[in-house]
Assembly symmetry: C2
Homo-oligomer: 591 residues x 2
């Protein structure tokens, strides 16, 4: 079998140059230095690092997870060399401006290129991705002193960064953050409190780590409006050297996946000597965080997509290699056929392709929106893209996580009994994948965000933008020969359903609006991914080469098997169905 490509290069090129037209994006002033001539070498470097350096260490890092002994966290020995290579690639700041040491790559290109690194080794890239996110917060909201002192070290990978939001008692409920920050005369704050599930929160890779910590100032209002953001280093620069900053690891989380990336519980300020530096205005911490949230959520979608892609490629190679069973109706004297000759195996492969490539197109589309939002020159276009990006974000975060998990399950299933063993890789990717429906807002939270905020944003303006965009691409897909009738009906249905739910919300019937939000998220995701397949089908045109036939087959599969689920889901969302809304705990058995 040939080595796992992680992601199909030809598909990525098709997305960038045929579907998403990054050439047009390069006309924006921010990207005039870029073109296919700069993107291709960058993509090549990412692919090489992913395939030749990161992927070969994936299994070893899964089998020998990070350790916590004597108060210190030790990463896998191979991780040191991987970190060096990631730094040398310059990936941490690749999407940031040249002024801060970056390459100013469009997010569209950054997102698809880093997907290779994720597919190769989620944990290894995780250190870099988290550092990008934390540094970006400082770049946007930090004081000049923080920017001058720390940003370069973070973007170069001399230091790493984390997001320290979650607390043990609060989980997803950030309103209940209890960590405290006390102002001092010297300008810094004294931070105290406990955080949990902090990815990359401790390591022996770099001399320092900067934690972006949510905490409350004394007297701050309750809830989310009383939360501030602080940069809290593991070691603080003092008198020309780094001294310990009273941040201690109190436990290592034994995760079932991402086992090369430490997730730790941290105690800040146990000795009342933990210095934190305010980032952004007081009590506006969550708002600052949320300005980065789209990016973080699309990153999770990319993690999920990458994890599904590498497993898809593995199962495709296995199905092409392994001989087992016979064609329907053949007798036992004939030779066994390859697994891919069985219709149900092809179904499992095409379903994975539809999910994986639909997700890749979705995250790249969201990333392209963010490029226009951040760097566009036409205010109307920026607004339009902002509405669309906000609407797409909960879908781009949750669809690849949920359906990617299904795709990963199919990859394991294709491997049969062998797939159920740790001698084969699909089980490891299945474990990795599960996190993506939990962190950065569970799927349930994404569904409330979509129904309660995003789909009704701008008094219907967001939905109108979506409708216009989809309509244009359906016309193109139809011209390319695809049957998009079910998509058209589904789009109309989404509009009428949203109006009905919005009216319920306006009348104060929150249960009626939000009760079936998970079903609504599923419905909208099927439609949006159908839109992606329409775009891709249109871009493939009427070509009859193998690649175009594959695109068309996946589009047809999605339109024929998933889109027809939409009417029943819409009926359910709009119905007065209250089975679980009305359930009392005692009905379930624990009174």
């Amino acid at each position: 079998m040939s080595p796992n490509p992680l992601i199909d290069d030809r598909f990525i090129d098709f997305l960038l140059y045929d579907v998403l037209d990054v050439a047009a994006l390069c006309k924006l002033p921010a990207f005039t230095e870029h073109s296919r001539e700069t993107f291709d070498p960058w993509l090549t470097a990412c692919r090489r690092l992913a395939r030749d350096v990161l992927f070969p260490q994936y299994r070893a890092m899964d089998l020998a997870p990070v350790r916590f002994e004597g108060g210190s966290v030790t990463v896998h020995p191979k991780m040191h060399a991987l970190w060096k290579e990631l730094r040398e690639l310059g990936v941490i700041a690749a999407n940031r401006p040249t002024e801060v040491g970056g390459q100013q790559l469009p997010m569209t290109v950054f997102c698809l290129s880093t997907a290779y690194l994720m597919a190769a080794n989620l944990s290894a890239y995780g250190f870099a991705g988290l550092t990008t996110g934390a540094a970006h917060l400082i770049e946007t909201f930090g004081s000049q002193a923080l920017k001058d002192g720390w940003l370069g070290k973070m973007y170069s990978g001399e230091w790493t960064g984390t997001m320290a939001l979650t607390e043990p008692q609060a989980g997803s409920s950030l309103a209940d953050v209890k960590a405290r920050a006390q102002p001092t005369a010297e300008g810094h704050h004294l931070i105290s409190g406990a955080k949990i599930f902090i990815s990359g929160g401790a390591q022996d890779l770099t001399e320092n780590i900067v934690h972006l910590v949510l905490a409350r100032l004394e007297g701050a209002p309750a809830g989310t409006r009383g939360i501030s953001l602080f940069a809290v280093p593991q070691h603080r620069p003092e008198g020309g050297k780094l001294v310990p900053n009273d941040v201690h690891v109190t436990g290592l989380i034994h995760k079932i996946g991402w086992r090369g990336l430490p997730s730790v519980a941290l105690a800040f300020g146990e000795e009342n000597d933990c210095h934190g530096f305010l980032v952004g205005p007081a009590n506006q911490g969550l708002k600052c965080m949320f300005q980065m949230m789209n990016e973080a959520r699309i990153m999770i979608g990319a993690n999920a997509t990458a994890t599904a892609s590498v497993a898809f490629q593995e199962s495709l190679a296995y199905a092409n290699d392994r001989k087992q069973g016979r064609a329907l109706g053949s007798d036992a004297t004939t030779d066994p056929v390859r697994l891919i000759a069985h219709a149900d195996v092809r179904r499992m492969l095409l379903r994975q392709k539809a999910i994986v490539e639909g997700s890749l197109c979705l995250i790249a589309t969201a990333a392209r929106c963010s490029d226009v939002v951040e760097h566009g020159t036409d205010p109307a276009e920026k607004d339009r893209h902002r509405l669309l990006l906000d609407l797409l974000t909960p879908i781009a975060k949750s669809f690849p996580a949920e359906k990617g998990f299904e795709a990963n399950t199919l990859a394991l299933q294709i491997h049969g009994g062998y797939g159920y063993t740790s001698e084969y890789l699909p089980e490891a990717w299945l474990r990795d994948q599960k996190l993506n429906s939990i962190h950065e807002g569970t799927t349930g939270i994404q569904s409330l965000d979509l129904v309660g905020r995003k789909i009704v944003a701008g008094g219907g303006a967001a939905l109108l933008v979506l409708k216009e965009e989809v309509t244009v691409d359906l016309i193109k897909a139809e011209a390319a020969g695809l049957d998009v009738a079910a998509m058209r009906d589904a789009l109309d249905r989404l509009v009428s359903l949203t109006a009905a739910l919005g009216a319920r919300g306006a009348s104060g019937d929150l249960d009626g609006m939000l009760g079936h939000s998970t079903d609504f998220l599923e419905l909208t995701s099927i439609l949006v991914v159908g839109w992606m397949w329409a775009r891709m089908g249109a871009a493939a045109g009427k070509r009859t080469d193998d690649f175009a036939e594959g695109i068309r087959a996946a589009a047809k599969y999605w339109f024929a098997t998933e889109v027809p689920r939409i009417p029943a889901l819409a009926t359910l969302c709009e119905s007065a169905e209250r089975s679980f809304l009305d359930v009392k705990p005692a009905w379930l058995g624990h009174g």
Copy 2:
């Protein structure tokens, strides 16, 4: 939190006495010694063993899997005490006649009582369940000498048994079994060949293991018609003692779940000294096996159901205990609420309940059919139940495996970030569950069995029996106040769809008949589980106690969210949709 009950006792009592009317079953001559007075103490003993003995060792056995060193397999040290207790309970032969040392329990009761043992510790019970299956083959088809010499030792648990079918090159394709059997003048055969994935194929629990091995006699026809069944002991009785029988462990499979039950690769006859004893007629081995297959497949369904049940109970307790977040519309100054107060958490719980209890009712219904098939006195009733049992078997095997996996995923999801750690149990059950869609015939194989054989059996007679049974229960459910209109339509649709597919098959259009068999299996499973909920809803009547309200809520949930998916699935199965049928390997990227 109170200890995990594994399965809800009240629900099991409801199933046995209110839904399935085991009192009526006890009127059959085979069961006249039985009544609620004998069943209840048995259930109590199983529940006690499950909760007090097996479950407390579950995690330890998962964390320290079986080992293979120096050619020997060592089970977890605690397993020895568990095996002693399982033997003392008499569970291995509990469903077998008193003449062979059993208690002649109806399968209905056996199936639901052993589900507790499975829920507590799949691996521990696995040794017993496999021994029951292997001994049952000898009881039915074995020579008098085998029955006299070995059966008692197996049914008492002095020896264990295995099924040794799969070979490394053949996987699910039993037609390609290559192991060989050479007759000798002494009456035994010399067995040679390699087997893989043999659960319980080696252990240090008992002095001997009897493997039921599929192998070919010299000159036997190719394919499934040339396979014979042999009893092959690990040690053979010779001169009053046990001597090694040339059966060697060549490898331990590193499974991702069921980690207390060894799965091994075995080499038979490497020294040409492996004695096997023919079980059943020559070349009829697969036929003999298939006579047990219904039982084995329902057992897998029970494994899957039990694994989903224990996780459902765990997540229910967690959701009742853990406080996090607030009700929609409440402000941050109010106290956090329990997880179960969130609508989407209740959705995840009610969905688990619908899957778990629907599956329990399904496997018990199938078991009850098998009781009538085996012990009924009215030939017409026996025929009717045989048709129904055959039709239900692929569903009872695959629905709990596939939807149980989804239920296990929801149990993990409810635990949030904690669920992603190995400090909590849901991740272990999720790993355990995955096997059930693979062993004893993958879901793909079950779907071909359903569409190609079972649903069209008897020229439509099987489907007619199903239709009559469902219709009667829908009338009762309606009388209890449930809206069953969608179920009625779905039932009619299944009949017309089956006729259409059957006609395609008759005309030689195998792709047209079988291409969407996985969708057909899903459709039929939703309907059959809907039937279960109609039966249970009818049995709950119009009572308004918490238990009955819970039954009704789950029935309503299933009718409102799953049954409406049937029309689109039926349209798909009947359509000419060929997206994956037409896919060429090169279209997917590996030309």
